[in-house]
Symmetry: C2
Subunit: 459 residues, 2 copies
């Protein structure tokens, strides 16, 4: 049964961005309807139930590095935080050799020097790229014609340094750096206060899982959130915006699309979106990541003085982190699997893939890792309503289509993956949603939208 | 009224590739149904009627450089050819200076030397990249992590050389070289026998327009071609392949999808396509080109000793060609408009864009160009059933997903934009369609598919 509703604002997507936008709209005294394609809220945050009242995150999970808004929101919603890293030695595996170490840098003076040198160069480049308008950077076109991967190849001098920097920068995009525009990557890092800052972005996790934020936001919005209702068409050819979704058609004064860019491009728009916006959407790449986690009765590595943090660039599971719930029971190890060279790993049968991952974990923290009590995987690229994990821009796109990132199209505003602060993190989602809500509230009040407040300080 | 049909083979798309595939299937004694989304055949070939029995091509038009199959097909279908270039001096405009010249290279020894040097380097790189399996090239990953644009920037030493090579290489992809993977570009050039060979790819045009080939192929196929019938779903979960389109559902033994990759990705597949194929489709970029043509009572530039060929990198219309029909009446000048820096030109209002183009033509061939009898434009990126002109691969895609380019998915075969000979030309379309048909015929005969016959000789 198809329902017709009216609201001041229609929001597409009940991930963190859409819900943060809806919350801001309601807080300002306006009515809202949120259409969500899935049968759940939270978008790219999703908690797996481990039983016994424990969960582990299958999607976005870490916060830190001065991400103000998400700490504020968690406090407001009564979601507590706990340390994102565990104490103990780290493991570095390269060329078949396994070494433990304690500091922030891998246990080879040569490799460490190579990495530090490369990161200083990255810092110099980042400083040239304003996160709000990267296309205005000096030499923007030349930076946009390069890939992050080619830059890493050129800049690093040791094989291990290259492999590590490829891994570190790739994780942020959920992609191989070879796919990502260098200018885009610089603007991305710049939006978080610099690449070095990303090392602190795992300071905390959220007790009860990161999806709890979205669940609590949705609870407050009540029946304004319509689940299981993919949006098919957004029609602003009349005096209103009509958002047609599977279960409900919403007539609104403004719409906020807070779906990942790739998905927002498959909605039918009337009138058609401007060509710049359409071209932008075609130039978006998406992270192909399987998040794999092994669950053990306890985090046995801790008793052996290991933190669970391990780096093994080149291995099937190129790193590991201790992802146990607070209290440390059960124990969980996580990794991300990226396709490289023919996407071999993603195409392995699940059982073979599980075995390959557990074998890596055993290399990292010992043979007990081969016998987990459970094993969880989520392939974000196969999620119809996520279209990958983070999304990024391919070379040549930002200088050409960048100005269309945030530019509203008539009465339709864009509230996902287009922030200027901590892009493509949970913090960035909240900020992108709130920025779009700010534009809409200003428009409803008849005023010009205020400029985004940028609070990140760059050192 | 929805119709149900049965055939040995269902073909998706009645462009040159799909029709060439259907022709091969029928020639082997099998039945075929071709579903075409548009109300016409020909895909990215389309002829504009100029009146008086004359046409001018709004899409693909040139042949040459030893493209065997299209010459054979044209002869078989009774479509004649005529010279693709006209005699006379060429014009080069750079930094506000206009000069005429006669040879193949621009009239500056320094710039010519720069171009020759760059093209020799390109030749050396191309030779390393086998068109059939570019991912097996030495250093493939590193080449794939670069863009063609960054390579051009790095390799050229003069501003004019850089601008010209950017123009020449960009035209082939309908895109800015900054968008295109260097490895992909090398495999593309290699597929045509080398970049230098593209200079001969405009030797001929087809009398009566290039779309005539598709019209004649379709005439022979009769009611096997169903127009106005976009394919929504391809279901091979049962024992057959069921192709569901707007007007007809075809039950077939095999299907050939000969739609541009981006469009083939928006069909619903049951079961879902393998992840490698899905990722490949997401990594395809598409050429954003407006083909603009001005029609004059006669090609007045010829009387002044000009060929109509002009190069003006940096101008709104960065080049011109004489595109008059055979006989030279009326006279036609053509250019391609690419977006660069914010896609300004594509977003101009049509009247302003027309004026900008005519102003360039006046700079090239004289003030008479300002008063055309007619002006034609086609924005291929706005064509719903083309999704751009040529399609290409963005960095990092070929090494990772390349093997999925031609790999059939069950009983579904891919017959567009995935050839190994003259990729993304009319020749390439015919060959890609015929290769897919060859796979299908081999499968229907119970034999293993034969390896593609590669007939290009590389010097």
């Amino acid at each position: 049964m198809h329902e017709a509703r009216e609201a001041d604002v229609a929001v597409v997507g009940a991930g963190l961005a859409g819900l943060a936008a809806a919350r801001a709209v309601v807080a300002a005294g306006h009515s809202v309807v949120v259409c969500e394609a899935r049968d759940r809220v939270g978008g790219r945050t999703l908690d797996h139930d481990l039983g016994g009242g424990q969960v582990v995150e299958a999607g976005g999970q870490w916060i830190g590095g001065g991400q103000e808004r998400i700490y504020e929101l968690a406090a407001e919603l009564g979601v507590e935080t706990f340390p994102g890293r565990s104490e103990g030695a780290k493991v570095f595996v390269f060329d078949g050799k396994r070494r433990t170490y304690d500091g922030e840098l891998p246990p080879s003076r040569r490799v460490a020097a190579d990495l530090v040198q490369a990161m200083l160069r990255l810092r110099r480049l980042e400083k040239r790229v304003p996160a709000e308008a990267p296309w205005e950077a000096r030499d923007a076109e030349r930076l946009d014609a390069q890939t992050l991967g080619a830059w890493v190849d050129r800049t690093t001098k040791t094989r291990a340094g290259r492999a590590l920097l490829t891994l570190f920068t790739g994780i942020q995009h959920g992609a191989d750096p070879a796919n990502v525009s260098l200018l885009y990557a610089l603007s991305f890092f710049s939006s978080g206060g610099g690449f070095a800052r990303y090392a602190e972005a795992d300071q905390h996790r959220l007790v009860g899982g990161s999806q709890a934020l979205s669940r609590r936001l949705a609870d407050r919005l009540g029946d304004a959130v319509v689940l299981g209702s993919p949006v098919r068409r957004i029609d602003q050819s009349g005096a209103e915006v009509v958002v047609e979704s599977e279960l409900v058609t919403v007539r609104a004064r403004r719409a906020i699309v807070a779906a990942p860019p790739i998905l927002s491009g498959s909605i039918e728009y009337r009138p058609e979106l401007p060509s710049l916006r359409r071209q932008l959407l075609r130039a978006v790449g998406y992270g192909v990541v399987i998040k794999a986690q092994a669950v053990y009765d306890e985090p046995f590595w801790r008793a052996e003085g290991l933190s669970g943090t391990a780096l093994g660039p080149g291995l099937a599971a190129p790193f590991a982190f201790d992802n146990s719930p607070p209290g440390g029971s059960p124990g969980v190890l996580l990794t991300f699997l990226h396709p490289r060279r023919g996407a071999a790993l993603a195409d392995l049968r699940p059982a073979e893939r599980r075995e390959a991952v557990l074998e890596c974990f055993a290399t990292y923290v010992g043979p007990k890792a081969r016998q987990p009590a459970g094993y969880l995987e989520l392939d974000w690229s196969a999620e119809r309503w996520s279209a990958g994990c983070v999304q990024y821009l391919t070379p040549g796109a930002l200088t050409r289509y960048g100005p269309a990132l945030r530019e509203p199209c008539g009465r339709v505003h864009w509230g996902s993956e287009n922030g200027t602060v901590w892009v493509a993190s949970m913090e960035g989602a909240i900020r992108a949603g709130e920025r779009a809500a700010g534009e809409v509230l200003a428009a409803l009040a008849g005023a010009a939208p205020a400029k985004e407040r940028v609070t990140v300080t760059t050192s």
